[in-house]
Symmetry: none
Subunit: 224 residues, 2 copies
Amino acid sequence: MFRILVVEDDKELNRTVCTYLNQNGYEAVGCLSAGEAYDAMYGGSLFDLIVSDIMMPDVDGFEFARTVREQDQEIPILFMTARDDFASKQKGFKTGIDDYMVKPVDLDELLLRIGALLRRAKIVSSHKLEIGKLVLDADERSAYLDGEEIPLTVREFNLIYKLLSYPKKTFTRSQLMDEFWDGDTSSGLRTVDVYMTKLRSKFSGCEEFQIVTVHGLGYKAVLK
Amino acid sequence: MFRILVVEDDKELNRTVCTYLNQNGYEAVGCLSAGEAYDAMYGGSLFDLIVSDIMMPDVDGFEFARTVREQDQEIPILFMTARDDFASKQKGFKTGIDDYMVKPVDLDELLLRIGALLRRAKIVSSHKLEIGKLVLDADERSAYLDGEEIPLTVREFNLIYKLLSYPKKTFTRSQLMDEFWDGDTSSGLRTVDVYMTKLRSKFSGCEEFQIVTVHGLGYKAVLK
DNA sequence: TTGAAACTTAAACATTTCGTTAACAAATCT
DNA sequence: AGATTTGTTAACGAAATGTTTAAGTTTCAA
């Protein structure tokens, strides 16, 4: 689920945009000023994309975007503004925004452009799972503990990646087999047990998590 | 220097755009049809970004973009078209384009948007890959180790360039075939293995990297 | 057009790696 | 305690990969 921060001082428009985004599969959070937006961002909430107006009561959009960019080079920023002059567009793009839409915006087109930006941003960010000193990289299909690689076979990696993607969630042997053995449960379910032993052994030096047996059900990873 | 492919059947507009891009620090190549564009791309030239019209004599922009996306998920594509209807925009973004501008386009805004896309795509400004004593030049399609050329065929070069562009990232045989054999997987996937053997042999004197087999998945290049 | 060289690919065989099973030990539940 | 579930290990066999060869294909110059 992608989280989108909407910074727009027009209450009604803000509400309209957020509602529309929420109806279309995003989790939108509306802010009426840059100050509010800072609070939302650094209050622990992580966002995947920012939609921002330019003219706002406290800090303007340019300044807001610049500040954000200093801290985060990656997050896509889309300006949604009434200003249709080239100078504003230039200023915006120069501060590092990714798209610029002129009001009144077609909400459906906004959706399309948000989709394109998220797709693009996602390509760049690698699929990593970081838990303390442990890093699982889905592109490399390798695990690093404190920088040192732990060699894993394909199935081993798939299993541990799955478990760690949903900590505390219990997976039955059948679920795991269905997913990583192409639904071919002809090989006995006990094979999963063997893999758990292998994983426990390979990650014995890792204090970040633990593979826990749920008797009668299956296995789960629990973070320490 | 960024290279931009401009696909636009209106000769005059094509010329105008290319000239403007060239005057602003890019290296633009104009094509009057999708067919021409394919030739330009497959002819060994590497492009960093594509600007394309939708309505064209042979294959339309949607089809063109789709074909390009099948082979290359990364290259930014910008549509520049007279069509201002939502359906076209939707169709475009769904095929994976990154931006959509309605004619008549302001060339200065085009520049801004191209700049934003290139920044986002994080493309390095060169088609050279330098790793220690090893140099791969994508324009020349040649490899130099310590100044001495290592002769490579087109397929050999494509493969090693791809692997080294994403060190540690694992590529499946299918991925590589899809990309460098025009999606023609009729030739057995084992062909890839043969090429890996050849590459390992040709780069046996190279201590900068190593081609590593990921059993059950494919291959990756690991820097030493 | 023709021949030579370079390139590509299928096939065959050698080699390596991995997955599975089976057996027994240990733990857990009733 | 007895039954069931789970932990662990090692060995076998299957599958994936490495490599070479030879035959087919393309390219290019004469």
